[in-house]
Symmetry: C2
Subunit: 645 residues, 2 copies
Amino acid sequence: MSKKAKQVKVNQVKVQDIFWSRLQDKIIDTVIPFQERVLNDQVPGVAKSHAIENFRIAAGLSEGEFYGMVFQDSDVAKWLEGVAYALTVRPDRELEERADAVIDIIEKAQQPDGYLDTYFIIKEPDRRWQNLHECHELYCAGHMMEAAAAYYEATGKDRLLGVAQRLADHIVSRFGQGKERGIPGHQEVEIGLLKLYRATGKEAYREMARFFLEERGKNPDYFYEEKLKRGWQHWGQYNTDHLDVTYNQAHATIYQQDKAVGHAVRAVYMYTAMADLAGEDGDGKLYEACVRLWDNIVEQKMYLTGGIGSTAEGEAFSDDYDLPNDMAYAETCASIAMVFFAGRMLETEPDGRFADIMERELYNGTISGMQLDGQKYFYVNPLESVPGISGKIHGYKHALSERPGWYACACCPTNLVRLITSLGSYAWSEGDSVIYCHLLMGQRAELEKAQIAVESEYPWQGKVSWSIAPRTDREFTLAIHIPGYVDLQDAGTEVRVNGGKVELEENMKKGYLYLTRKWEEGDRAELSFEMPVRRIFASQKVREDAGCVALMRGPVVYCFEEADNGGDLWALRLPGQLQAESFLCREGVLAGNICLRMKGSRLKSGRSLYSEERPVKEPAELVAIPYYAWANRRPGQMRVWMLEE
Amino acid sequence: MSKKAKQVKVNQVKVQDIFWSRLQDKIIDTVIPFQERVLNDQVPGVAKSHAIENFRIAAGLSEGEFYGMVFQDSDVAKWLEGVAYALTVRPDRELEERADAVIDIIEKAQQPDGYLDTYFIIKEPDRRWQNLHECHELYCAGHMMEAAAAYYEATGKDRLLGVAQRLADHIVSRFGQGKERGIPGHQEVEIGLLKLYRATGKEAYREMARFFLEERGKNPDYFYEEKLKRGWQHWGQYNTDHLDVTYNQAHATIYQQDKAVGHAVRAVYMYTAMADLAGEDGDGKLYEACVRLWDNIVEQKMYLTGGIGSTAEGEAFSDDYDLPNDMAYAETCASIAMVFFAGRMLETEPDGRFADIMERELYNGTISGMQLDGQKYFYVNPLESVPGISGKIHGYKHALSERPGWYACACCPTNLVRLITSLGSYAWSEGDSVIYCHLLMGQRAELEKAQIAVESEYPWQGKVSWSIAPRTDREFTLAIHIPGYVDLQDAGTEVRVNGGKVELEENMKKGYLYLTRKWEEGDRAELSFEMPVRRIFASQKVREDAGCVALMRGPVVYCFEEADNGGDLWALRLPGQLQAESFLCREGVLAGNICLRMKGSRLKSGRSLYSEERPVKEPAELVAIPYYAWANRRPGQMRVWMLEE
């Protein structure tokens, strides 16, 4: 296995895209300031945060009690990471100063030995590191490391980096071979340590990440023994019941695990770190472990929207093919984690199947978590919603049909901020002689081998061009991901370089088109393909999609809302011979989106609950909108999978 | 409104039926002795009962603590009621002696003031009558009254009747206008009081029943005020939170309620008493209240199998048309309660819509609660089951795919016993000049106006005859319920009296065929009709049945099991032009049942989770079995509502 392609840093790429720039603006103009006010407890009517105040109290700058979740610190870290990326998108001196002020507080809250976790500093100083199972100290540390690496890359300022290093050194001094054999209850520190390793070059951090990954599951009773030893627990009344650690993916070693199980975000954060380390170390065995888990998720456990973790209990993966649409959990954070995982897999092996899923997540299951105006958020992303049932009846209580403004457990909103502001870094990776372009996004990238300007009409049209200004006079390859759904045989699918048609079949490998040449200033590659509406069928193993079809156009999954189609969406039928027309929505909150219009039918029945009379079919004009844009109008039903005539 | 038709007593009818006699035998030979051993704690491996021991302790015949639910007494009462009916089916001196011995203990447990509830006698003697909301004292009293009336009717022995009267007198002395204005948290005493009224003729019991019904909901805060007053609660930690009493149907008066809400068994026990009293008193206003609630259940809230109370939370009615098949609660007891309700409605107004539902319940949603061998029971009766999901995953935990042997809350098994052993009394009612026959069941009935022998091939064939030996020389009417699904226009549908064809249309009224004549000894009425397989469609308001069809033949709902059809039942399709052949199953556990065989198809797809390839249809031979007989073979999937090609 070859050493992986290099990650591209956030500040190497400026997104200038018809789709994503609007979202980045929304994040920067609305979400980051809103979240800043929430973290400072300045927004009435949303769940109280207290997260920055916790740091102030820990720093001795304020009096008071800790408030919030045991992992409240991570909200601040994730916000800072988002701010760091935002500053690369659009410098903002005042925002940077305010972030610096927060970092100042964090630095003051750090203990002399490097320890940093406001819950334990303020509330239970004698109980540090006793409850890795429940208490998220390593999780919060990981987020602080990610924030520190990001802030350092974005601003060149190393104050938070220093905090993170002292914290990491503290962790390294405590855990490892021949030291404490602890592992985190919620994986994340592994990702943070690897980022910190790349930011500082310190091998100890990489080794620490490997230890946490490889130690996991060696002793499946580790958390149980930890519980018995300390004699207390954080959640609920202390008991000596045995623990089911499949929830934490601690039931077997990472090499033994071949099914994605347990809490989806924990799982995919772990897989992300595994993939990162596999690439970093050229570790084929570890990479194969990643592929096994990837395949189980993507081929057995993923919604069409990219949603994963289908059951509410434990926010967890369910059995293979158990993908209820109306009861879906499909946490926003879990879809975001899949982008991380896909990104790391692509660095090791540029295979279109990873890029396809990254795209699926980005255009669907991640951003469905945010209202179009950036002000409200879904934690849970169902593929069917029925107000009156959803969010209300047993089994459906988690699946709200309207986005709330904030959450007591506020992981998803801050996670969206850091994802969308750092999007550029997922679009590229750079090998010795190859530049990989994973996402068809309008952008300017400053890469080692070239400056590349991408113009794109994606995701609404299959029209993308790359203008290259090489920085080397050696030959190199531009490898472009062509989405897996593109029909290479279609007459409308073509790639031209400087106007000359490229033979597709012979230059394609695993979903990437390899264009190798001695690139000259002003060279231009152009990709174009048709974007018909595609009908998608689920495997017959998926009970909940039986008899149904879903619509996609490009990477975008569509859904049907009551606002356009009236109620009882399940009584609508799509024709076997579907002719859907796409149109640009020009007005209202959906303006700028390509929507679909088609002829279908609606079944009508008499008043009886049950009858021998076959329901009557009446013609109906149906409209579908992008899934991510659902629940932005008046409350109403939504459905992705539609029955056929 | 006319005074209602008279109820027929259990001992007036001997069931001799190809379908029900086998079940009655199973109940008498297997279930009653099994339950007797359970109630006496002689069955290892099932949930401990302790119910008879509680009475022994309360009687001072044994030492020990109360064990079980606060309503544990009712299991003994319901068993005794079942025994009483069983003795009318088949006398059994030893069983009667053992029942007498239990009654002896109960009599000794009764307190000098008439009070009888072992939980409070043993455990909390100072807390009697303080917690009507949670503590089921009136509920247990109601069951004791029902048992007493039944035992008196069956055996002529009045010892238990005396116990019940002293208990009822105690209640009458305590509650009512100008006394305590209490109402039961779980309705049932109203039914018991009316039965006791009919057994004893004491008006005070009927008035007490009316008080409990009419007092309900007058002060929706009654239970809340009761809670604040007593300062303790039975379930959970004491709090002063406001109570949602829609669960108990105490949110509005019985005249204001027009939607079936809350705990389904509580609700339908109340409606049953309302209907009983409406008929008893010729009370049109009360009857109209019953009709409103009946219609809401039957036209908006009932499964095809008769199951009601679709949500597990609160074992309750959900919103109109919210009828999930896989997450159905559909408690066995709630279906049984619907038989009671239908029976009482029929006494007031012989309308086929009530008899049709009684039949739907009897042949489907009630008896699905019992394994064919009578040894295991379902509390919950879903219309779709998927082992691995059902009984296991969040939202589905209540919906088991195999029947357990007993329950800590053992209401359903004992309820089935008393229903099936008293079936004869639901088959008839008798007005001044009319004998109504509600059920097409083989039986011998000793009625006031005639002795009637019914021969029947129901539910497997539409062939029933009535042989009449009149006891009067006056003209009277035999009114026969012809099931609503029977096609009166069909050439195969005919009724003959002494061989002469009867004009159907002009003699039918609301589902009953009225045959008026001066009946002579040896007169014989014969009904015959075809019994084709019928395809049933649900209203387009029912989301969970969208695109599906269900099969019925006669009153029997059919289902498809994995044992006959292989797995992934949702991948099967029934043809638009269905030709189903019925056949008698001759072997195995299903022997004696008419099953269905038909050509259909199975969809097959490739290995991908999602694909643009339309699944391929392959021919498949499909088999359906009666719904009530599901889960009697190896564990596997089951489905009632099937997708169409």
